[in-house]
Symmetry: D2
Subunit: 135 residues, 4 copies
């Protein structure tokens, strides 16, 4: 199991008329969470796309909203990988505010596409080799 | 059961590096779907907020991605209400492109807040009265 | 001179904590304006990119805000082309609400890139031929 | 004169079909720049809104695009205040990538509204007192 965290401040651009972080922006928080988890492994998603020609479209997204995030909140994005990726990879996320209140939980399931053939492939060894020791 | 539809073109602003509609923007399509369903009833969400002081935060969001929406696609957003709202309301959505291919399915569950007391309330009669005949 | 118009409703996603359309979203309204002007000519920006391999990056953006656009406003986007494009093209925009109040004015200057060579080129004849009669 | 800097990574959500940071997102970078400049003074824009009931709508935005920002670029947002605010405040911005290339320059002019009266006011002393020593 691998668990990482990173931070993101809520900007005016992301608030809505209720004064909350708009419900659609959590998908972006999850993107930040998974790309920073990958960076923490010493690799980048950018390298996967540009060099390995593997991209990761999303198959499924689930969000559960417990409390609103508000303007200027300094959010902690916790990202959890429970299992080694196979043909798919599932990231779990928990969003906390600066008072350590759990605001939101979500999961994102993605798959791997070889951009040269446009076919589904397994998780590249570039990623799996780095993950091995956590499982 | 109530089923309505409306249309939305994919803009450059909404595409990502893959050339797809970014996965987080489907939440906005669902927002368009549910607010246009309410408008089709002859009422508006704006009136609910401004006059009745009832707002509808989101409790849960689920998206399943089947095929990517692409730049300039003219999307058909189908919105379905299977049940009369109670303390909650659940909208189902299906997104089709101009070739009538099903790209995405999702559900959004919302609840009702009285903005004066900040307490949860049941669906306002302003909305329920209009929905009654469909169930 | 060519002048076209199209419409866009302000969505919750686009409002901010002040209850206004966020100031950064006007760039998207201008994008809608210029792409719909091109569509009104019987051609599409999508075709320019995909078939002619010509893309149009933005060189300059200017926005002047007079009155805020608000949630659910039904905006009229007026797009004006004062001159035939050369190496550059400049669109002027005016944004009105449903009460015909002028909310915002802006200009966007773009240039043309040949995607095969990554070099700047003149406006393609695909576009100029359609524009000729208006100037 | 006051000059501060902060950093922002370009996310997938913010890229477009060209693989560039969408031209409309620079307004958000400028928002980050000015709110972090204010935070660096030891005060917050949030406090101005919530406690002083003063908000700052935008009057004018200007952006000049020199080179595209790309996915995963680690942008440096330089924010410059050339003059003490009066009835208005003008922030200048320069955006650099991780190779210290200047990508974009812009200015944002804002004014001050007393939220209780909805009237224009001068810059609050809460802000001016902190700025005095830089001019």
């Amino acid at each position: 199991m691998l668990k990482t965290e990173c931070f993101k401040r809520v900007r005016y651009a992301e608030t809505d008329k209720m004064g909350y972080l708009y419900y659609g922006h959590y998908a972006k928080l999850y993107e930040i969470g998974r790309s920073e988890m990958i960076r923490d492994l010493g690799i980048t998603y950018q390298h996967m796309e540009d060099e390995l020609q593997v991209m990761m479209p999303v198959l499924n997204l689930n969000c559960r909203y417990r409390m609103p995030a508000k303007y200027d909140d300094h959010l902690r994005i916790v990202t959890i990988l429970d299992e080694m990726p196979t043909k798919m990879i599932t990231f779990r996320h928990e969003i906390y505010n600066q008072n350590d209140e759990l605001l939101n939980k979500g999961e994102v399931k993605l798959f791997f596409i070889d951009m040269k053939t446009n076919k589904r492939v397994s998780a590249p060894s570039y990623l799996c080799d780095k993950l091995q020791k956590f499982f």
